[in-house]
C-alpha cells in the first residue's frame, strides 16, 4: 500500500514541478518571452471544450470512446466491466440522460432508454472527441444541439490527401487479455479532387473471461473470506462497418453522406451476488444509420446547413437462465431526423442563427414471455432554436440562445412547448494573452423515454420532463511558445436538477412506477491542465491532469433518511493524470512511453450514505509503450498497453467486478 501511495505521490510531484515553473515564467519573464511567442490566433470558443484528438487519442490506454472519456474532468463513467459491459457517462452529476452524444455532428438517439453505450464506439477511426459543458460554442448548429446539458462530439477520420496521393490504407490488428481479437481496416480513396470515399471496418471478439477476487477481512485484520472466480458470460462478438462520401465544392460548399452499421452479440454477465457466479442472459444488437449533411455559404454572410438521418436499431434480449424472469424480447427502434439551420452575419461582430429540427421515433416491442406482441409507440419531436452571438471589441463575446421544444408522445396529450434559454459570455481582458473568464447559465430538459412512459407496469404516461439548470464560471489560460504549450482551466459550477424522473414504489404491493420526484443540488469544481514541453534532442513531454470535486446532494424532502446525502455513485473527488514522453528520431521514427492514472474516490452505491452502502475508492495505473517507423512506402506502428498495472480488484458499479491487470498489443500499418 505504501509503495502504491508513493507512486501516485511522485507522479503528481513531478508534474506539479512543471506546472509551477510555468507560473513563474508567466509573471516574471513575460516581457522576455513575448518576443519568442509565435503569433497565435486567440481561440474563439465561448465555451472551451475538453478535447482529445489525433495521436494523443490513439495513444491513450483506451479501447473505446468510453475509456477515453474517463480522462475528462467533470465526467463520471458508469462501467459494468469488460469489453462488452455497458459504459455510459454522466457529466457534472446531472444524470447520463442529460448528455447528448453526436456522431459526426448528428445526435445518436435511443428513444427507448435515453442512454448511449459508449463502450461500443471504437477509437480506431476516431479523429477527435470533444466534450462541451452547456453547448457547443458555435451558434451555427442544429436546433436539437441546444437541448442537452452536456454534449459529446465524436468525429471520425476525414480523408486528407497530398496532391499525388489517391489511396490511403490503414490496417490494424489488436490482441490482448480476455482473448481480445480486434482487427480493423480502413481505406480512403480520392475519387476526384473534390470527392473522396472512406471505408472502415472492424471486428471485435472477446471471451470476456477474467478473474476477479472478493476479499473481506474481519475488523481484526484476519481474512473473513478471499475468493477468486472467473467472470462468465461476458463474451462479445461485434462487427462495425462504415462508409462515408465527402464532397467539397467551390470553396464554401460541402456535402457528405455517412452510413454506419454495427452488429453485436454478447452475454450480459450480470451482478455477482451470493451463490450466483454466472448468468445466462444474451443480447443481440444491430444499429444501422445513414446520415447526410449539406452545407453552403452565400454572400460571405449567410450559411445554411441541412442534416438528414435515418436510424434503424434492433435489440434482441434473451434469458435462458431458468432461475430468472425468462425473457425473449425484441425491440425495433426507428428514427427519422431532419434539421435545417441558417446563420446570418449581420455585422462582423454580430451573428444570428435560426434552426428547426424534426424527429420521428417509433418503437416496436415484442416480449414473448409476458405476452406483449407487436406493441408500438411513437413520438414526434419539434425543436426551434434562435441564437445570437456578438462581440464587444476584442474583450467580450456573448451568446444567447433559446430553444423551443415540443414533443408529442403516442397516447399522451400534447404537452405545452417548453422554452429553455442559455446565456454564455467570455471575457478576455488582454488582447495578447490567451486568458479568458467564461460563464454560462443554461436550462435544459431531459424528456421521458419510451421506457419511462410505457414500460410494462412501470411506465407513467403523465411524466413531465426533468429540468436541469446549470450555472458555470471558468477561468482558462493558454500559452504556447516554441518550448511549451500550456493550457489551464478551472471551473466552478452549480447545477440544480428538479422534477427528476425516478422509479418509485406504487401504492400496491411489488409495483414500481416512474415519478417526477427528486431534486438534486450539485456544486462542483473542475480543474485541468494540458501541458506539452518540447525538450532538446527531439523529446516531447506531454501531460494532462484533471481533477473534479463534486458535491451532489439529494434535497428532495427533509424527511427522507438520505436528505442532504451524496447521490449514488458520484465520488466527491476524482481525477486523472496522463504523462507521455515521446522521442522522434532523425529519420522521423517515434518512440514513446505513456503512463496514466485514474482515481475515483469514495462514494455510495445508494441514496443513503451509510456504511452498508459505502464503496471504496479505486484507482488504476496504466502504462503503454509505442513505436512508429517509416517502412517505405508505409508507416508501421506498434503499441503495448498494460492496464490496471497493479491489478487492483475494484468495482465501478457494485457487484460488477472489473478486470485486474490486462494487456493489449496493437500493430498498425498505414499506407
Amino acid at each position: 500500500m505504501i509503495k502504491r501511495y508513493l507512486f501516485i505521490f511522485f507522479a503528481f510531484c513531478a508534474l506539479s514541478a512543471f506546472a509551477q515553473s510555468e507560473a513563474d515564467s508567466l509573471y516574471n519573464d513575460f516581457h522576455i518571452q513575448e518576443v519568442e511567442v509565435t503569433a497565435r490566433a486567440l481561440t474563439k470558443d465561448v465555451i472551451v471544450p475538453q478535447t482529445l484528438k489525433g495521436e494523443e487519442l490513439q495513444r491513450l490506454n483506451a479501447l473505446s470512446v468510453a475509456d477515453a472519456l474517463r480522462y475528462f474532468s467533470g465526467v463520471q463513467l458508469k462501467d459494468y466491466g469488460g469489453v462488452g459491459g455497458i459504459k455510459t457517462i454522466n457529466v457534472r452529476s446531472m444524470g447520463s440522460q442529460h448528455t447528448a452524444v453526436y456522431y459526426n455532428g448528428i445526435q445518436l438517439g435511443n428513444a427507448q432508454n435515453g442512454q448511449v453505450d459508449l463502450g461500443r464506439f471504437s477509437l480506431d477511426n476516431m479523429e477527435e472527441i470533444q466534450l462541451f459543458n452547456g453547448q457547443k460554442s458555435d451558434i451555427f448548429q442544429s436546433a436539437r444541439e441546444f437541448g442537452a446539458a452536456g454534449n459529446v462530439y465524436l468525429t471520425t477520420r476525414k480523408p486528407y490527401f497530398h496532391p499525388n496521393e489517391k489511396v490511403h490504407v490503414h490496417a490494424q490488428m489488436r490482441a490482448g487479455s480476455f482473448a481480445l481479437a480486434n482487427p480493423n481496416v480502413g481505406v480512403d480513396i480520392k475519387l476526384t479532387d473534390a470527392l473522396s470515399l472512406t471505408l472502415d471496418a472492424e471486428y471485435v471478439y472477446s471471451d470476456g473471461k477474467y478473474p476477479f477476487r472478493y476479499r473481506r477481512v474481519l475488523p481484526t485484520g484476519e481474512v473473513a473470506y478471499d475468493t477468486t472466480a472467473i467472470r462468465q458470460n461476458g463474451d462479445v462478438n461485434a462487427v462495425r462497418a462504415e462508409i462515408g462520401l465527402h464532397h467539397y465544392y467551390r470553396t464554401t460548399g460541402f456535402w457528405r453522406v455517412h452510413a454506419y452499421n454495427y452488429y453485436s452479440e454478447r452475454g450480459v454477465p450480470g451482478a455477482i451476488v451470493n451463490n450466483v457466479w454466472k448468468n445466462g442472459e444474451r443480447l443481440w444488437d444491430r444499429n444501422t444509420f445513414v446520415q447526410a449533411q449539406w452545407q453552403d455559404e452565400w454572400f460571405n454572410r449567410w450559411s445554411t446547413r441541412l442534416l438528414l438521418k435515418y436510424a434503424n436499431d434492433y435489440t434482441h434480449y434473451q434469458n435462458y437462465d431458468i432461475k430468472l424472469l425468462p425473457s425473449n424480447n425484441e425491440y425495433l427502434q426507428q428514427e427519422a431526423y431532419l434539421s435545417f439551420a441558417n446563420k446570418v452575419q449581420l455585422f462582423n461582430w454580430w451573428d444570428l442563427s435560426v434552426a428547426y429540427d424534426y424527429q420521428y421515433n417509433t418503437l416496436k416491442r415484442d416480449e414473448w414471455v409476458s405476452g406483449v406482441t407487436d406493441e408500438r409507440f411513437d413520438r414526434h419531436s419539434h425543436w426551434l432554436s434562435a441564437a445570437t452571438a456578438f462581440n464587444v471589441k476584442e474583450y467580450l463575446r456573448l451568446q444567447a440562445s433559446a430553444l423551443m421544444t415540443q414533443i408529442t408522445n403516442h397516447k399522451s396529450q400534447i404537452t405545452n412547448p417548453k422554452i429553455t434559454p442559455g446565456i454564455f459570455a467570455s471575457f478576455r481582458p488582454y488582447p495578447k494573452i490567451d486568458l479568458s473568464l467564461n460563464a454560462f447559465y443554461k436550462q435544459s430538459y431531459r424528456y421521458p423515454t419510451f421506457n419511462d412512459l410505457y414500460y410494462t407496469d412501470l411506465g407513467n404516461a403523465n411524466l413531465r420532463p426533468e429540468l436541469a439548470r446549470q450555472h458555470s464560471i471558468e477561468l482558462a489560460y493558454r500559452k504556447a511558445t516554441k518550448a511549451y504549450d500550456l493550457a489551464f482551466s478551472a471551473s466552478y459550477y452549480y447545477n440544480r436538477v428538479t422534477d427528476k424522473i425516478i422509479a418509485y414504489p406504487k401504492g400496491q404491493q411489488f409495483r414500481w412506477t416512474m415519478l417526477n420526484l427528486g431534486t438534486v443540488k450539485i456544486n462542483g469544481v473542475d480543474a485541468k491542465a494540458d501541458m506539452s514541453f518540447y525538450l532538446p534532442l527531439r523529446f516531447v513531454l506531454r501531460s494532462r491532469l484533471g481533477y473534479t470535486y463534486q458535491k451532489a446532494i439529494d434535497v428532495t424532502n427533509p424527511n427522507d433518511t438520505y436528505y442532504g446525502h451524496q447521490i449514488p455513485y458520484i465520488p466527491w473527488h476524482s481525477g486523472s493524470v496522463v504523462a507521455e514522453l515521446d522521442w522522434t528520431s532523425k529519420r522521423g521514427d517515434h518512440y514513446g512511453f505513456s503512463y496514466s492514472f485514474i482515481y475515483v474516490g469514495e462514494r455510495y452505491s445508494q441514496q443513503e450514505n451509510t456504511i452498508y452502502n459505502y464503496v471504496q475508492p479505486w484507482y488504476t495505473h496504466d502504462l503503454s509503450i509505442y513505436g512508429e517507423w517509416n517502412v517505405q512506402p508505409c508507416r508501421l506502428k506498434a503499441n503495448i498497453e498494460i492496464n490496471n498495472l497493479l491489478g487492483q480488484d475494484y468495482e465501478v458499479i457494485q457487484n460488477y467486478p472489473m478486470p485486474k491487470q490486462n494487456v493489449r498489443c496493437t500493430v498498425a500499418l498505414k499506407y
Binding site: 515553473s21 409476458s370 441514496q607
Partner: protein, 632 residues
Amino acid sequence: MHSSSQILKFQISNFKFQIVLCFCIMLLSCRTDEVIYPTIPTNVTDEVQEGGLYVLCEGNMGSNKARLDYMNLETGTYYSNWYGAQNPKQVKELGDVGNDIAVYGNKLYAVINCSHKVEIMDLQAHRIGQVDIPNCRYLAFHGDKAYVSAYVGSLADPDLLGSVFEIDTASLQITREVKVGHQPDELCVVDDKLYVVNSGGYLTNRYDSTVSVIDLNSFTEIQKIPVGLNPTRIRKDEQGHLWVCCQGNYDEVKPQVVVHDLNNVIKRIQTSCANISIYDNTAYILDNTNKKLLGISTIDYRQSTINLPLSTFENPYGLLATKDALYVTDAKNYVSSGVLHCYSYDGQERWQALTGDIPGHLCRVGEAMQTDTTDTVISYSAYISHVYEYLPAIGQFVNELPKYEEGDDAESMCRKCEAAIANNAGGMVTLGGWGGYITFGFDHPVKNEEGRDIQILGNAFYMTGSTEYGSSEPGIVLVSKDANNNGLPDDTWYELKGSLYDDPTTEHAFSRTYTRDGDTIRNPFHKQPYYPQWLTADGYTLFGAKLAPQTEKISGQNVQHILDYGYVDNKPNTDIEGTSFDISWAVDANGNAVQLESIDFIRVYNAADEILTQTGELSTEITGAIDLHINN
C-alpha cells in the same frame, strides 16, 4: 537557446506549489482492505418484551443487500446485519433479495430469492447450511419437512409453471418436487394438504387465479381451486379456513381478500392487501392503498380499523401480529432504510427502529439469544465450536459416547458430540474401531503459524515411571480448507504426517466395510449394539491408513508403545507439544508436502486396529481441541 533555459527553470521548482498539490492528494483517500459489514446495536426502547424478533430486509435485486436484523426484545436493542456478524466467513454475505423467514423446530430458515437458496441457521442465526432452490419464494412446514415454492420454469415450457420443493429438515436435502401453477408464492398446510397460491406474476395481463392443492402423502397436485386474480398470500386461521390475498391486475380488476373453507369461497373482502397476519381469531390486513390496518374477525367477519398512524407511512409493507404487539414496517422508497414500528393493540406506538432496505419479513423467536457480546465478530474461541460429521466404526462405546436415543440422526449426533467436546465442555467422544472419524472446526480458520498450531485432546496416559509405554490409541489427523467456501467439509483433505507415516509397517490407503450384520461381538461390559444406530444404511466403508499393532505385554499389562509425534490420543494432554499438531506437516494423497496458510476443518480417525481381550478395541477418544494461537 531559450528552450534550454526554460528547461532549467522547470528543474528549479518552487516547492510551495508542490506542497499545495500534494496536500490535494492527501485528500484523496486510498483503498484499504474491505472489512466485512459489522452489526450495529441500537437501543430503541427500555420496554421489555419476551424473546426476539428477526427482520429480513429484502434489498434490491442485484444489490446483494438482503440483510437479517435482530431485535432483542428483552433488552430493547436492535442489531443491524445480525447474520453478517454471526457468519463473517460467508462469501458475499446473506445474498440477494430476502423473501421469507420462519422458525421451525430449533432452526431458522430464510429464503433468499435471487441467491436461489434457502439458508438454514440455528436460532442464533449461525449458518448450518443451505439448500439450493432456483428462484425460491416462500416457506411452509409440516412434520419433519419444509416446503418451498419456486418460480422455476424453463423457456422450453411455454406455460412457465412453478414448483414446490420438499426439504428434509434433518438432512437438509431436497426429497421431492411437484409442479404447480404459474409463479407460486405463499403456501400453507392444512391437515395433510398443502395449499399454494399461483400468482402468474410473470404473465402481465394473464395472471393466474388459482390455489393448487397438493396431497402431502403422494406429493401430487390433486386440485386447483379458483380464488381470484393474482393471488400472492395465503394464511390459515384457527377455523382451518384459508385467507388468500389477490392483487388483481393493478388496473380494473381490484385487489381482494378471499376466505375459503377448502370447499368454497365463503367471503370476499374488497381491499388492497399488502400483507396479512392472523392472530387470536383476527385477520390483520394491511391495506396499503388507503394506508390502513384492518382487523377482521375470522369467526363472524366483523371488520374494524385498527387505529394505527399508517397514513404517516411512505410504504406500509411488512406485518406481524403477536400476542403482545403488532409489528408493521415502512419500506419507504425501496432503496433506502426502512422502519420497523411496534404498536400495542390500542394503537400506541411503543418503539421504532431503522432497518435495512425493504424490511418485508418478520418472525418471532421465543427466547432472546445472548447478544450482550457486541463484539461477537472480533472475539474467537480457542476451542472448537462445531462438529460437522461423526461416524465411528463399530466399537464398544459406540451409541454410548455420545448416547444414542431413539429418533437421533446424523445431525443430532453431531450436536451431541458438540455438547460433549465443543467449547471446552470436557466430555468425551469415541471413534470406535479402526477408521471411525469425527470432523470438527472452530469459529474461525486456524492459521498455520510458526510451530504447532492445534492441540487435540484425548485420554492417553503414560505407564507409571515411563514415557515410552502407556495407553495410546493413535488417531490420524486430516485437515482441510474450505476452498469452495460453502462452510461444509467437502473439500480436499490433507494428512498431517505423523512419525510413522514413512514407516514400512504403516498400511496407507486401507479400507474396511462395516455392516449392521457384522456387529456381533459383545464384551460383558458393553451390551448395547456397536453399530451406529442412527444410520439408516446397513453398511458403510471407511478409508485411511492403518498403523501396525503397538501393544506389548509389560508386567502382565497390555500397554502400547507411545509413538513419537503426530497422533491424537497418544500422549497425555498435559504434554502440550506431544498432543499438538503443526499444519505444516500436511501432505497430499501422494505424500507431497502441501503449504496451507490456514485450515477450516479437522478430521481425526482411529488408525489403530487392535482388539485386546480385556479392554476391547483400541479406540481413539477425543475430549476437545484448542487453537494454540488464541489466548482465552
